[in-house]
């Protein structure tokens, strides 16, 4: 078969290319540019090579922020994924309860992030907030603005409140797509409720759960607005996660070079973790 050679079709790609260039490639290249140079303004740059990368990789401050970030992400995944599945399993399957539950579940997802932060800030204030005041009235010594443990507790609670719904909705969609014949066959085969969960429901939810874990990993690993409004990274640096620390370095201290290097390292960590996780989850799918 002879193909007609016509390169004009490339023109159709131009709009997308321009769009991607302006919202992704050019800003990213600017960051790359900053990461290898030093500047004192006036558009004067000096070549620094890999100095900023070495500095960040060896910096105790970065290690601490990265450690806090991983800890936070693991804790919220550990809570949100099982909790989300459990809620999805106990949601009604038909009748009026379905839309009611779905709407209630979607509510936290519809609230702007800084509003979530502000809401929880006020909610948790030890003197006037409902949560803070109640905890103190019950005899707990709770003050998230001064005690780092309380700050962590509140941040995690806020994130669980805000994002578990996403896991619930995805799991619910996964559960609803299981054909009734699977449950009937399991009943005929004499499977226990636990076996139905592990042998049918979990495997069938694998794909949506992979998406849920990836989304929750990326979002929580890059979390900024809510803890910034809630704790501002404090007390001290207790809840200064990676992006909060990054903004401090870039805009607070105006260390553009190290901040740029840190952004790139940050970006590659997210990319690497997502890639490894996705590859592991999907390695058996390729065979079938």
């Amino acid at each position: 078969m002879n193909k007609t050679i016509n390169q004009k079709a490339w023109f159709f790609v131009i709009p997308v290319f321009v769009l991607v260039a302006f919202n992704a490639i050019i800003p990213l290249m600017t960051v790359v540019n900053y990461a290898f140079q030093e500047t004192f303004g006036n558009n004067v740059f000096m070549w620094e090579g890999t100095r900023w990368f070495k500095q960040i990789m060896l910096s105790e401050r970065f290690h601490a922020a990265l450690g806090r970030q991983f800890l936070f992400t693991f804790i919220i995944l550990f809570i949100q994924i099982p909790l989300g599945i459990a809620i999805a399993l106990s949601m009604p399957k038909e009748g009026l309860g379905v839309p009611v539950c779905l709407v209630l579940m979607s509510m936290p997802l519809l609230i702007p992030w800084n509003v979530v932060g502000a809401m929880w800030n006020i909610f948790a204030l030890p003197d006037i907030g409902f949560l803070g005041h109640s905890l103190n009235a019950l005899g707990f010594d709770y003050n998230f603005t001064q005690q780092s443990g309380d700050a962590w507790f509140t941040t995690i609670l806020m994130d669980v409140w805000h994002w578990t719904s996403l896991v619930v909705l995805l799991s619910y969609a996964g559960l609803r797509s299981i054909q009734p014949a699977y449950y009937q066959a399991a009943e005929i085969d004499g499977a226990s409720r636990w076996a139905v969960f592990t042998k049918i429901e979990l495997p069938k939810m694998k794909k949506v759960l992979t998406i849920a874990i990836l989304l929750r990993f990326m979002d929580s690993f890059m979390i900024y607005t809510e803890p910034f409004v809630l704790t501002g990274g404090g007390p001290g640096n207790a809840t200064a996660f990676l992006s909060i620390d990054l903004v401090k370095m870039a805009l607070g201290q105006f260390d553009l070079g190290p901040a740029a290097a840190m952004s790139l390292i940050y970006f590659f960590i997210v990319l690497l973790v997502c890639w490894v996780f996705y590859t592991l989850m999907m390695r058996n799918e390729a065979q079938s």
Binding site: Q179, A185, E187, I188, D189, K199, P203, S288
Partner: protein, 354 residues
């Protein structure tokens, strides 16, 4: 192993029922003898799957009882009833190997591993799955998966009955044939009650010794394939079985005689009762022949299927189809038809008059 009896069984998916059409299954009475091969035949939505799920215990009937060997078991769950069921779409446990899939019903019943092993290998050999036993089940083709579903149904040797709910829907036509003969062969080998739900008459007639025809939630006739063909007890059986279906024409009954177009027609039996709102005469196209005199018709068209000719004719009371041998000469224009007396039946309100 048991004889299964359904007594005055009705089921509705609605909370309140006022009309006949509110019932998915309506007043079913039937005995399934131990070791029989039955087909439950009917169009989509006639209630056959509902009836099957009631027998296996997946659905609790609104009214009536299910008896195994004359013992009521209506309130027992599927495990207690010890029933195997195979569904329309292959159900496999994705994360398990073929072996584990087949062993699953036995493991749930705490059978010891040695026995499971011999049982699974026996079934795998029967279904030609031996070579794939250690593969992951999710990697198999649709018919491979359906074989696993079948295998899980067959692996328990003590089940009371095995139910098939249109199990060959997703299978390629040529494999369908192979699997169906396999099922028939299995039935002879293990000799357990099998109930096979289908809407395909060929499937039903080739698989079963006894065919149960369902229509709008009711059982309209139970019989051997030959009985269903030669003597349909309900006009629906006449339409549904046979290709083309039975000719059913409106007629009058006067003094015990069937009158079609003002002419008396001989039927297989004399009629005594006559208190129906609708009376019809039914005759299969295979039992009609052309004659010098008889029922006047106009020949409309002749189509040759290779094995036989199908002739469309028009009489005063409606269209009549005739099946003739391929070498038979067919008159054109006006002709006369002769109905074979022994296969001509009168129907009152859709049921045969006897």
């Amino acid at each position: 192993m048991a004889k299964i009896t359904l007594k005055n069984l009705s089921h509705s998916y609605l909370k309140t029922q006022s009309e006949n059409s509110d019932w998915a299954v309506r007043n079913v009475n039937i005995d399934w003898n131990d070791g029989g091969a039955y087909a439950l035949l009917g169009p989509s939505g006639c209630g056959k799957t509902t009836l099957l799920n009631i027998i296996s215990g997946l659905i609790n009937p609104t009214q009536g009882d299910i008896l195994f060997d004359d013992k009521t078991i209506t309130s027992l769950n599927p495990v207690e009833r010890n029933i195997a069921q195979i569904f329309q779409f292959p159900v496999i446990y994705d994360t398990m190997t073929v072996y584990d899939n087949l062993a699953f019903p036995l493991r749930n019943r705490k059978v010891d591993e040695e026995e499971i092993k011999s049982k699974v290998q026996e079934i795998a050999k029967m279904l030609e799955l031996s070579s794939t036993l250690n593969n992951r089940a999710s990697g198999l083709t649709a018919d491979g998966k359906q074989k696993i579903s079948l295998g899980r149904g067959l692996v328990r040797s003590d089940v009371n009955a095995i139910m098939f709910d249109e199990p060959l829907t997703v299978i390629d036509p040529h494999l369908k044939w192979i699997l169906r003969s396999k099922l028939k062969e299995l039935h002879q080998k293990i000799n357990r009650t099998m109930i096979y739900v289908t809407h395909d008459q060929t499937e039903a007639l080739t698989f079963a010794d006894q065919v149960v025809v369902m229509h709008e939630g009711q059982i309209v006739q139970t019989g051997s394939p030959v009985e269903l063909f030669e003597k349909p007890k309900h006009t629906f059986v006449g339409y549904f079985i046979g290709s083309p279906g039975m000719n059913v024409l409106p007629c009058k009954i006067e003094n015990g005689n069937v009158i079609l177009n003002g002419k008396k027609i001989e039927t297989h039996k004399n009629i005594k009762k006559n208190s129906f709102s609708k009376t019809e005469i039914g005759i299969r196209p295979e039992f009609i022949s052309f004659n010098k005199e008889g029922i006047p018709v106009k020949v409309l068209s002749v189509s040759n299927t290779g094995r036989h000719k199908i002739i469309d004719t028009e009489s005063e009371s409606g269209k009549i189809k005739i099946v003739a041998k391929p070498n038979e000469s067919i008159p054109s224009g006006s002709a006369f038809l002769n109905f074979k007396k022994d296969f001509t039946y009168a129907y009152g309100d859709n049921w045969i008059i006897e």
